[in-house]
């Protein structure tokens, strides 16, 4: 146990110093394994784990879904989603913020990365909210909260990583995210309604849109709905595996973007770079985290922890609440992929041993990882959003995000009380 604690302590020092997450985890993993067991296998694992993972067919979904999201982002889809949301909701108090949450949800349905969602939606929605005198911190925080939907509503990078680590069926996991995604949209919109009723100056009403413009705005969104239906429907019915669906989705997005003549050469180039770069950074984290997790397993700490938790005989709910606390603390320091790769191999056996459904736990992990990404002081999404609205202070964004935690508490409570929200769709699949 002490070896693992030292490993974690060294890791956090390196992370705070600013060593890239993947390299830091890999370094501690290899050096720790070398000191604890033997240097020859420690080094041998580096090449082996790197090759096994970059040549893992299951992981090829990652670039395909990232490409699909990039194609939509570059074909002005984020703008169209937001315009559609605005057309229907903009004239209500807080309506532009509600439209932001809806548009984030829509964007999530074609994209798998919360960072991508935050980057795309901030540029689109924050300027409009500010034109209508929204409080800047509240506007920015809304986008950050909405972006956590991206890893929950399929496709999702975190789901791919979770499924690959645990051998849970990725198709079922994707279906399982759908209803909790809708629930989250509902909770966040309720938060916006409540906040703007109490403090109307945070989000004044925007302009009303006529029905003609509403229809036009909805017409722009249908191709995306169609593609989402084909991709998810295909997985649900069992026609495609997730990888195949990702290939079809990316191809469909490419055809749609090309048909709308939205693809310039420069954009195609930047999409290629985006996709390859994002994929590469994720793999550095995945490989590093696997090396680190390997040390934790080899040190016997994972097994010791598992036995210890089993001996406590905690009720399921208590176990879940403890894990929730751990994830929120870790989420302050690590990004979503790192946290998933690092924690799931350790917690998964404990959780399944306690009789918790592996798919339910996957969705739980993805939700709490998302919450970690918007938790001050280090919530990554808060900083991504703020990077695009330079005149908003960090403090303003931190205050803005606070009300959304009420929504988070409600949705997590509901998922614990009614696990069916997660499990009903995957159970209906073959």
């Amino acid at each position: 146990m002490s070896a693992a604690l030292i490993a974690f302590a060294v890791l956090f020092v390196l992370l705070f110093l600013g060593l890239p997450i993947g390299l830091a985890m890999g370094l501690v993993g290899v050096v720790g394994f070398g000191l604890l067991i033997d240097w020859t296998p420690a080094f041998a694992l580096v090449g082996q784990i790197a090759i096994d993972n970059v040549m893992n067919y299951n992981f090829s979904v990652l670039p395909l879904f990232i490409l699909m999201g990039a194609l939509f982002a570059h074909s002005r889809m984020a703008d169209e989603l937001y315009e559609a949301g605005n057309a229907f909701l903009g004239h209500y108090r807080g309506g532009l913020a509600m439209a932001t949450i809806l548009a984030c949800g829509g964007f999530s349905a074609v994209s798998g990365s919360s960072l991508a969602c935050a980057a795309a939606m901030t540029k689109v929605s924050v300027p409009i909210m500010r034109r209508y005198n929204y409080a800047p911190g509240f506007a920015a925080a809304t986008v950050a909260a909405g972006s956590t939907l991206d890893i929950l509503i399929p496709p999702s990078i975190s789901m791919v990583i979770y499924a690959t680590l645990t051998d849970v069926n990725l198709g079922k996991l994707m279906m399982a995210g759908f209803l909790p995604g809708l629930l989250t949209i509902g909770c966040y919109i309720a938060v916006i309604v409540a906040v703007t009723s109490i403090w109307p100056r945070l989000g004044p009403a925007g302009a009303r849109t006529g029905w003609r413009d509403r229809l036009r705005a909805s017409r722009d969104v249908w191709p995306m709905v169609l593609l989402f239906t084909v991709v998810l429907g295909g997985i649900y019915v069992g026609v495609f595996t997730p990888t195949e669906a990702a290939g079809i989705g990316a191809f469909g997005a490419f055809v749609l973007a090309a048909a709308r003549r939205r693809l310039t050469r420069a954009q195609i180039a930047s999409m290629i770079l985006d996709t390859a770069l994002t994929t590469s950074t994720i793999f550095f984290v995945v490989i590093g985290a696997l090396l680190f997790a390997n040390l934790i397993t080899a040190s016997g700490s994972a097994a010791a922890l598992q036995q210890w938790v089993a001996s406590l005989n905690l009720p399921q709910t208590a176990l879940i609440l403890v894990l929730l606390a751990i994830y929120i603390v870790l989420g302050c320091m690590l990004d979503a992929s790192a946290m998933t790769v690092l924690t799931v191999p350790i917690f998964f056996p404990i959780v399944t041993q306690a009789g918790i459904d592996p798919i339910w736990f996957g969705i739980f992990v993805i939700i709490v990882v998302g919450i970690g990404m918007i938790t001050p002081p280090v919530g990554l999404l808060l900083f991504v959003v703020r990077a695009f609205v330079a005149d908003v202070t960090v403090r303003q964004v931190f205050y803005g995000i606070l009300p959304f935690f009420v929504g988070d508490a409600v949705r997590i409570g509901l998922l614990i009380l009614f696990p069916g929200i997660v499990l009903v769709l995957p159970q209906m699949m073959k």
Binding site: L23, A50, L64, L67, I248, L273, A276, F383, V384
Partner: protein, 166 residues
Amino acid sequence: MAPARLTLRVAARSALIGALGVTVYGMMALTFVDVAGRYLFNAPLGGAKELTEVLLALMVFGAAPLVTATRSHITTALFESAMKGSVLMIRNCVIAIVSALCCAVLAWRLWVQAVEMADLKGGTPLLGVPLAPVFYAMAILSGVCAVLTLVVAATAPPKPASEIPT
């Protein structure tokens, strides 16, 4: 001299984008043709899976030097803004050297794997695409990352804390 170097950089950039484009769009096209072939013509594309795996490996390591050059690695820069002057400089040096070492170890281990694969003359199961060259490429690209890390640290101004990769 300067324009020639500029042209060279543009050419290198285009070549890199082209190569990565082959991996990204190649993967998309392979999957699509495979699925379409299976359902429409009852003839799946033999070896689509293993080609996809090779393309994935080349994409990840092909983009790795770019990740290094643009400093897009995911970091947790908590106390970055708290450090100033010589402390910040020392910290930047340490980070660069440690990062470079990590990449160098990765390069070394991949090279070892590549040599083994070359001895075995190993290839992909269906099409027999030789894997040793793929592993050598991965090793060399990791080595490039190690060198680039040091070059970037020595030449580029420190990255502002707010700049997080998207």
